[in-house]
């Protein structure tokens, strides 16, 4: 590769690994990086994944970002909202989402910031987070790792459940992988505490600690591995030929 590798490409490559052991399930990447990452997972380490066209149909090849001729999509199935609910209640789904707040329990918030009865900022509403979190695995992508996203104490409105209530999900609850602009994490530390798995280039352990509102474990402070040349070709030429990924970090 002649061009240097961008942070967005590093995140996409790392995020794609979230789905590698999932087998034949529905991969839902919500937002730019998660969606390209799900596509990359399907084109590399898990071709059995099911993906939608972003609307109502399951398609055989991941839809590239940006304008495309969708009449050329190879449709293989149907996934209306009603079917999405049925699918997720069966557990055969792994979503990657970008909550507004996350806490040390892995609880997530997309509902309100501030007091619930007098919100400082009204966000989307809980959407499907309660159901997603209790019925299937989820991963998280955060483009702006800070104490505002990784909050001290608990999130303002628990929209997605966390590890402290794991038994309520019959043991299903899991945050598989957390990808941020600073590094890669999971919740497999002692007592399901969030732990650092690797740091992106030019990021220090201190950067992570000072930008996280709760204590984390340092499983490794190695540098995040770079995307392979095969992955870079797929990202740049197949999944996002228009370079829309560059808008995420202003690269």
């Amino acid at each position: 590769m002649s061009d240097s590798i961008s942070l967005a490409e590093i995140c996409i490559s790392q995020a794609s690994k979230a789905w590698q052991d999932d087998g034949e399930i529905l991969a839902t990447g919500i937002g730019l990086i998660p969606r390209i990452a799900a596509g990359l997972a399907k084109l590399t380490h898990n071709p059995d994944l099911m993906m939608t066209d972003g609307e109502t149909y399951l398609i055989s090849e991941p839809a590239p970002m940006g304008k495309r001729d969708s009449s050329a999509d190879q449709v293989e199935g149907y996934m209306s909202y009603s079917r999405v609910f049925e699918n997720l209640w069966g557990g055969k789904r792994h979503a990657m989402v970008t909550p507004t707040q996350i806490d040390s329990f892995g609880q997530t918030n997309i509902s309100v910031i501030g007091n619930y009865d007098s919100p400082k900022i009204q966000l989307l509403g809980v959407r499907g987070f309660p159901g997603n979190s209790i019925y299937h695995k989820n991963s998280i992508f955060i483009p702006n790792h800070s104490k505002k996203t990784f909050v001290e104490g608990e999130v303002d409105m628990v929209s997605g459940m966390g590890y402290k209530n794991k038994e309520l999900s019959n043991g299903i609850f899991e945050i598989k992988r957390v990808i941020t602009n600073l590094g890669i994490f999971d919740f497999n530390g002692k007592n399901n505490c969030m732990q650092l798995l690797s740091l992106h280039p030019n990021v220090s352990v201190d950067d992570v600690i000072t930008n996280t509102g709760f204590e984390i474990a340092i499983q490794s402070d190695s540098i995040t591995s770079m995307p392979s040349s095969e992955e870079l070709v797929l990202i740049r030429e197949v999944l996002d030929p228009q370079g829309i990924r560059n808008t995420i970090f202003g690269e």
Binding site: S80, S111, P119, R127, S133, Y135, M161, S169
Partner: protein
């Protein structure tokens, strides 16, 4: 049998303090011409049930909402709904905030004439904290598992937008996703549909058309002919959402009177002319994600 009504006729079936359900999803296939008609009426203090989009924002901007039963409110391309947000932050509305699937369960429960349906969804979240009226039920079988008993959400009136209808209320939703419109119709005492096309039964296309008939006509009280009636939301396959208009609408949160002067208090036909006419609207491409 002729169920054809005007937009204004539908208001005769609506009262202040009623519970209304609005079909569609976010910025997709919302019965916006009927919503605008309510905004222009004296009806107020509504409890509104919706997978919310600009239907909710517009009703909030007109101070029509007492309580909202919802999972989200979003304009899709513009993730946060400015008017809903303002109403909520100004404490103008009560809310019952639910997971999308719990909302479906509430409608399905009402549709099946059951008092509740059990679910695990909501456990471990503040949906329970903020909805203390939700009660629990224990499985009578040997698993003895405890569930949330999601109560039926009964509607006085459901408002839906469909692609085709005849005057008897045989409707067709041609877009690939019917969302939960069938459940809204079943959960309601009365359902009113606005329809892109008003056709003869024969023109509905017999067997080939009937697969798009998502609920039976006995559920439909009235049909309103409303070409481009979902604008500014999308109505697949005829037109996409009007991003430019949604942006103008969203930006009007500080000076809503400017928006209202331009687009409200008009007949449906005059509204459609004010936003470019049916020919322009049907040129708006379907959204692509």
């Amino acid at each position: 049998m002729n169920k054809v009504l005007t937009h204004k006729d539908v208001l005769d079936h609506l009262q202040s303090n009623a519970t209304i359900g609005i079909g569609g999803w976010g910025a997709r296939r919302k019965p916006m011409s009927l919503v605008r008609e309510i905004c222009q009426s004296d009806i107020k203090d509504l409890t509104v049930v919706s997978y919310g989009g600009p239907d909710i924002g517009l009703l909030c901007a007109h101070k029509k909402v007492k309580k909202l039963i919802f999972g989200f409110v979003s304009l899709d391309v513009i993730p946060l709904e400015a008017h809903f947000r303002q109403a909520r932050q100004n404490k103008e509305i009560e809310v019952m905030e639910l997971d999308e699937g719990m909302l479906q369960w509430g409608l399905r429960s009402a549709a099946m004439n059951l008092p509740f349906l059990p679910t695990r969804v909501g456990f471990g979240t503040d949906v329970l904290t903020h909805n203390p009226e939700l009660k629990f039920v224990t499985s009578p079988y040997k698993d003895k598992e405890s569930f949330i008993a999601m109560p039926a959400i009964k509607l006085d009136v459901a408002l839906l937008h469909v692609n085709k209808s005849d005057e008897k209320g045989n409707t067709q939703i041609i877009g690939p996703d019917p969302f939960f419109d069938d459940l809204f119709a079943r959960a309601a005492e009365k359902t009113f549909v606005s329809s892109e096309e008003l056709l003869s039964t024969e023109e509905l296309g017999g067997k080939d058309g009937a697969i798009f008939n998502r609920f039976e006509r006995s559920l439909v009280t009235g049909v309103v002919h409303s070409p481009c009636g979902a604008h500014p939301t999308s109505c697949s396959p005829s037109y996409g959402f009007d991003i430019k208009h949604l942006k103008e609408y969203s930006d009007s949160v500080k000076y809503f009177n400017d928006y209202a002067d331009k687009y409200m208090n008009k007949t449906h036909q005059d509204y459609i002319e004010s936003v470019g006419g049916t020919e322009e609207i049907t040129k708006i491409p379907l959204p692509q994600f």
